[in-house]
């Protein structure tokens, strides 16, 4: 039925090559012996060794991870609530404004979001630093979580909730014991998305941070401005490695779960 022509395969191979080649090159040159990142002179891991001595970088990494963990968790809660509000309550005052506020941050240029949040923090006299970055990250990542969870909720069979209530579960218990377990993969991938977005963000963090709170992207950016060095390649490689590892683990887990589900279903339908 499906016709996968040569043209289709070629466009996918070229497209994926375009997507991955720059990253692969960056990783390769992090192991370059020379300080030049464009001429290969030999294999070396010395740039990785140097990273551990760079105290500023390590501090920034620690700040970034704390911000990402905290903001991703809060954003997941808020984003899930927002998705529920959007999907389950189609009629309430200001729904249009609400859905607008959920979708707009997805495309809003970061400079605008960053500037406006900074001005808010200044206006209410909030000291800028760790907490302001966290608040800013919660705000823009919760919208991504909301969209991810929303798409799962839209395909959710609501009759199983009705069944739970019919069997005597209160709405809150229904949510905790039926709805949440079913949508949990979407909630989890929302969390992962929020975490990586926060880990990633330069512009908003730069606007909302204060003295003493420098995130890793800010640190990388200030070094990149000074020039391309293998050291940056090395730290980028570590970050890519962490993300790739996380994604592979996550997909492995979901795939195994999916395979298990398929096996269970087959067992259930097999003649006894």
């Amino acid at each position: 039925m499906v016709k996968w022509s040569r043209f289709n395969i070629a466009s996918i191979v070229l497209g994926f090559g375009f997507l991955y080649l720059p990253i692969v090159l960056l990783v390769i040159f992090s192991f370059n012996e020379s300080k030049l990142v464009t001429v290969w002179t030999g294999f070396s891991t010395k740039w990785y060794g140097q990273l551990w001595q760079n105290q500023g970088l390590m501090d920034a990494a620690w700040v970034t991870i704390r911000v990402a963990l905290l903001s991703a968790t809060c954003a997941t809660v808020l984003g899930t609530l927002a998705a529920l509000a959007l999907v389950r309550y189609t009629q309430f005052r200001g729904r249009l404004l609400f859905s607008g506020m959920v979708y707009a941050p997805l495309v809003m240029p970061e400079v605008i979001t960053g500037l406006s949040l900074l001005l808010l923090f200044v206006a209410i006299g909030f000291d800028r630093g760790f907490w302001t970055i966290t608040l800013a990250h919660i705000t823009f990542t919760m919208c991504f979580v909301a969209v991810v969870v929303q798409s799962r909720l839209l395909s959710f069979d609501q009759s199983i909730e009705e069944a739970a209530q019919d069997l005597g579960a209160t709405p809150v218990r229904t949510f905790m014991e039926v709805t949440l377990p079913v949508i949990s993969p979407a909630v989890f991938s929302g969390w992962v998305l929020a975490f990586t977005l926060s880990l990633d963000d330069l512009v908003i963090a730069s606007f909302t941070s204060g003295p003493g709170a420098t995130t890793l992207p800010m640190k990388i950016y200030s070094q990149v401005r000074l020039g391309v060095t293998p050291e940056i390649n090395a730290i980028c490689t570590i970050l890519i490695g962490i993300v790739a590892f996380g994604v592979v683990i996550a997909s492995f887990v979901t795939r195994r779960r999916e395979a298990q589900r398929v096996r269970d279903e087959q067992a259930a339908f097999a003649p006894a």
Binding site: V2, W4, S5, N8, I9, I12, G15, F16, F18, L19, Y20, P22, I23, L25, L26, V37, T38, L78, L81, A85, L86, Y89, F98, S99, M101, Y103, V107, M108, P109, E110, V111, I112, L115, S116, L117, L119, L120, L135, A136, I138, Q150, S151, S155, T170, P171, V172, L193, T196, L202, V203, P217, Y221, V228, I232, C236, L239, I240, V243, V247, S251
Partner: protein
């Protein structure tokens, strides 16, 4: 009892995220507008507050009369800003077009792929999006440099005899935007194409269309919602892009995101940068509304 409890829960489900977004997303915009009509001052914060809620309503109206549109007037008089807005829109538009051109065949190929490998392909498209934006832009510097990898390759193959100057030009910005935003274009296109009933193109062929005509008559028109969503997802953030023009563009590259950043961080002129942001927002209102409509339509379709 439980009715009341569930009513309260229902309220909270709406109120908590609603008020969060009001406070941290909507109100800040009003502050941006407020400060954009203030005057610059040498102080911290570096502007003269125009009004504060504590002063009450009478004071508010009094202050309204003191609104200073000087910042806006200044923006229109300085060709730098005008050109920056214009070239941002043009650069974003051209990049969006090229992104669409590259993303469409990829998305189409993915939608035609055997079902068993589609989810893997999808993950491969999303994966780069999860590695840092900054890193992905940075990776291009060493490729596009005059002594960079691309020139090394082209020189050694013999296609060119002297290095191309790509880095620090608009071409580098196009490449950067196309590269960074490609997944944003592929995903909505893929979901539009994947949902499409394959028998429609068969029906078109059965009725006498060649495969290419069937594509233009049936497949493409039906994928337009995906095209619109993808273009908006690329165009809107690209207009205000800062990292790409800053790292890949040249000194004479004008993009409004970079201008705003400089105005704010280098010149410390908060009212002017607020005005810059306010106008940028106004420019983007139309595409944002288009995007919202596409989203709302998609949402009601899935329901």
């Amino acid at each position: 009892m439980s009715n009341i409890a569930s009513a309260i829960v229902r309220r909270l489900v709406i109120i908590i995220p609603y008020s969060w977004l009001l406070i941290f997303f909507l109100i800040p915009f009003f502050i941006v507008f407020r400060i954009s009509v203030s005057e610059t001052a040498v102080a911290m914060p570096p502007y003269v507050p125009v009004f504060a809620l504590s002063e009450g309503f009478a004071a508010f109206w009094e202050k309204v009369s003191q609104f200073s549109l000087d910042n806006y007037v200044w923006l229109t008089q300085d060709a730098l800003y005008l050109n920056a807005y214009l070239s941002s829109v043009v650069i974003a538009g051209i990049s969006t077009f090229f992104t669409l051109l590259i993303a469409y065949p990829i998305a189409y190929g993915m939608a035609q792929a055997p079902r068993s490998i589609r989810s893997t392909l999808l993950m491969l498209v999303i994966l780069p999006f999860w590695t840092s934006f900054l890193i992905r832009v940075y990776a291009w510097i060493s490729i596009l440099k005059p002594e960079g990898l691309l020139n090394q390759l082209l020189l050694s193959v013999g296609i060119i005899d002297h290095p191309l100057i790509i880095l620090n030009t608009n071409t580098a910005i196009y490449i950067g935007i196309v590269y960074s935003y490609l997944p944003f274009m592929v995903l909505p296109l893929y979901s539009a194409l994947e949902k499409m009933d394959g028998t429609l193109t068969e029906a078109a062929q059965d009725l006498g269309c060649t495969p290419i005509r069937a594509f233009w008559r049936v497949t493409f028109p039906l994928s337009i919602p995906g095209v619109v969503a993808g273009c908006m997802l690329v165009f809107i953030p690209a207009v205000g892009e800062f990292v790409i023009p800053d790292l890949l563009g040249g000194s004479e590259t004008l993009m409004i995101g970079k201008t705003l950043w400089n105005e704010f961080n280098a010149n410390r002129d908060w009212p002017v940068s607020s005005a810059v942001a306010a106008i940028l927002l106004l420019i983007l209102v139309v595409p944002i509304v288009l995007f919202q409509n596409a989203q709302a339509k998609a949402e009601s379709r899935d329901r």
